[in-house]
């Protein structure tokens, strides 16, 4: 399913943090959103998964206006992994995954046999079947992220929105998470902190600064030394990954002006 964001502006507490953003994620593509802290990545994503309403502009899924749907209808099409501190409640991993069925259920949300089978498959797909009865709060960062991806898969969406899914993970876990997301086959819009991970894994990057998209395109076209100096305030050297040929970056401080 194709995700079209067009002319989107988002305001929080009366302050406009995202200005006139237009971008498209083609069906099954992994689209990265990069930018320095406070550039508006999360605000933009929050509006896409409907935690915020747009001040102007639209989000369309294959031509359907996302914000014209009910919250439940929207959640059946689009799942998200928000960047959230987490919960105080001691749910099991299986219970967390089962929450993904909520937009498909009526009444008290009692899971059917089909729901449970679907959740089991989702956990197995992310290699976390053995974690089902473990307490979510006691899982490692990587295990938690797997379980949350399983919850998103159990939601049976067409589009997946990820807000810094690799935060606080060790490097092997970061690579695992991005591989899982890639293998899901869904249309993915992900805010990523690590530019080198973004360069390797994303089909296309959008660079956001001060709430505006300042560059878009394939990673090797977008991640230029000039742009990195201007947007991130670093001096960057571009090198080629010796095996994949993907562009990779080495960073230094910018010389004092």
């Amino acid at each position: 399913m194709r995700l079209d964001i067009s002319g989107l502006s988002v305001a929080v507490a009366g302050q406009r943090l995202v200005h006139d953003v237009t971008l498209t994620a083609g069906s099954g593509r992994l689209i990265g959103l990069v930018g320095p802290n406070g550039s508006g990545k999360s605000t933009l994503l929050r509006c896409v998964y409907r935690a915020l309403r747009p001040a102007a502009g639209t989000v369309h899924l294959d031509g359907t206006d996302l914000h014209a749907l009910t919250a439940r209808e929207a959640a059946r099409l689009l799942a998200a992994l928000p960047q959230e501190a987490g919960t105080d409640f001691d749910f099991t991993a299986a219970e967390v995954v089962a929450m993904g069925r909520l937009p498909h259920q009526r009444g008290s949300g009692r899971p059917s046999a089909a729901d449970r089978a679907l959740c089991d498959r989702a956990l197995a797909r992310v290699g976390a079947a053995h974690l089902a009865e473990r307490g979510f709060l006691r899982l490692s960062g990587g295990e938690k992220q797997r379980v949350l991806i399983a919850r998103a898969l159990a939601q049976e969406p067409q589009v997946l929105v990820l807000d810094e899914p690799t935060n606080h993970l060790d490097i092997a876990q970061q690579l695992d998470v991005l591989a899982l997301v890639r293998d899901s086959g869904l249309t993915v819009l992900a805010a990523l902190h690590d530019l080198n991970l973004a360069a390797v894994h994303c089909d296309e990057l959008h660079v956001i600064a001060d709430g505006r998209i300042v560059a878009s395109g394939p990673p090797h076209d977008v991640l230029t030394a000039e742009l990195l100096a201007e947007v991130f305030g670093v001096r960057a050297h571009r090198v080629r990954h010796p095996e994949t040929g993907a562009v990779q970056l080495l960073f230094d401080r910018l010389p004092a002006a």
Partner: protein
């Protein structure tokens, strides 16, 4: 945490225990009435049977005093426990209980106006409940208006506003107790503040029962949404739940049910805080299971607590709140130490 106890067998067992507890609550008391008579009077009361003229006094104790009181204790215990679950999800705080929203202290103002100054005397026996409920609703409106922002009701603001209002209302109550005539009326006020079911009769059962049943039904139907809300507002939104709307619903349901329960029983502490936690230790955090078990557990607990409150130092009645603390605190600490239970990120 893996669930140590299966939910359905536990709920069935608790329902059976509750039935037994109601019987004990009816059969035991200062006036020694034998089990066979108690059962016969209960049968007569339930089915409209007949009794002998010389049994009227004992029948009245069983059918008009003890049984409705035990039933009301069950209703109040179930209500406080369910409200506790709702409020903890509402403010996403482990220390929240039905009273953290300031509703009960608001109810106390109305109740004490009746107890100390005879306000609403025209309403007779209803004056206390009506005044308590009305001032609870007024407190609810005040807390809601003060806590509301452009982003709806945020958990922290609710807790802070509720706590601030609690102190405000308590100050008014204290002032009233100080300025009122000393003696029995101040004692009644104290009794009410610590909770008591001594005023129970069939008159108070239907309204409290209906309010608790309505609140519990709404909560059970919202169990899935409560789970989503417990994971955070952002996650809730991504799962198709409007967190602000759900919090508004929970606030109104919890506040109205608190008002109805507090109006007939005073401010019984501890139950609404601890029963939800004890339930989570048994069946895990899933609100479908918690809401199936917590009301039963709370009902059983309060029937026994009320029974103890009237027999321990008979004919003097102890405040229920004292006994909930004496029984509840050690049980709770024991449970917490035995199970690995996490709520609040700690150990």
């Amino acid at each position: 945490m893996a669930r140590p106890v299966r939910t359905l067998p536990l709920a069935v067992a608790l329902a059976a225990v509750l039935a037994g507890s109601l019987l004990c609550g009816t059969a035991l008391g200062a006036a020694g009435i034998g089990w066979p008579q108690v059962l016969r009077y209960l049968g007569a009361g339930l089915t409209g049977g007949t009794i002998r003229p010389d049994e009227v006094a004992a029948y009245t104790i069983v059918w008009e005093l003890r049984f409705p009181r035990a039933v009301l204790a069950a209703v109040v215990g179930a209500g406080l426990s369910a409200i506790g679950v709702a409020v903890q999800a509402l403010v996403r705080n482990a220390l929240a209980d039905p009273f953290v929203l300031g509703i009960s202290s608001g109810a106390a103002v109305g109740a004490n106006a009746v107890l100390l100054f005879g306000t609403l005397a025209a309403l007779g026996v209803w004056a206390l409940s009506v005044a308590a409920f009305a001032s609870a609703l007024l407190a609810m409106v005040l807390v809601y208006a003060a806590a509301r922002t452009a982003h709806g009701l945020t958990p922290m603001r609710l807790v802070l506003t509720g706590t601030a209002m609690y102190y405000g209302f308590s100050a008014i109550t204290t002032l009233m107790v100080f300025t009122a005539d000393r003696g029995e009326s101040a004692r009644s006020a104290m009794m009410w503040l610590l909770g008591s079911l001594s005023g129970a009769g069939w008159g108070s059962v239907p309204i409290a029962g209906l309010a608790v049943a309505a609140a519990l039904t709404h909560l059970l139907l919202s169990a899935g949404r409560l789970n989503a809300l417990a994971m955070g507002d952002e996650t809730a939104a991504a799962l198709g739940v409007d967190p602000e709307r759900l919090r508004r619903e929970l606030f109104v349901v919890a506040a109205a049910a608190t008002g109805a329960v507090v109006a007939v029983s005073g401010a019984i502490g501890f139950v609404g805080l601890m029963v939800p936690h004890a339930t989570r230790m048994l069946v895990g955090a899933d609100h479908r299971r918690v809401l199936a078990v917590a009301p039963l557990l709370g009902a059983v607990l309060l029937v026994w607590v009320d029974l103890l409150s009237r027999v321990l130092m008979a004919p003097v009645e102890l405040p229920v709140g004292v006994i909930t603390a004496v029984i509840g605190v050690p049980c709770f600490v024991l449970l917490m130490r035995r199970r690995r239970y996490t709520f609040g990120g700690g150990a």
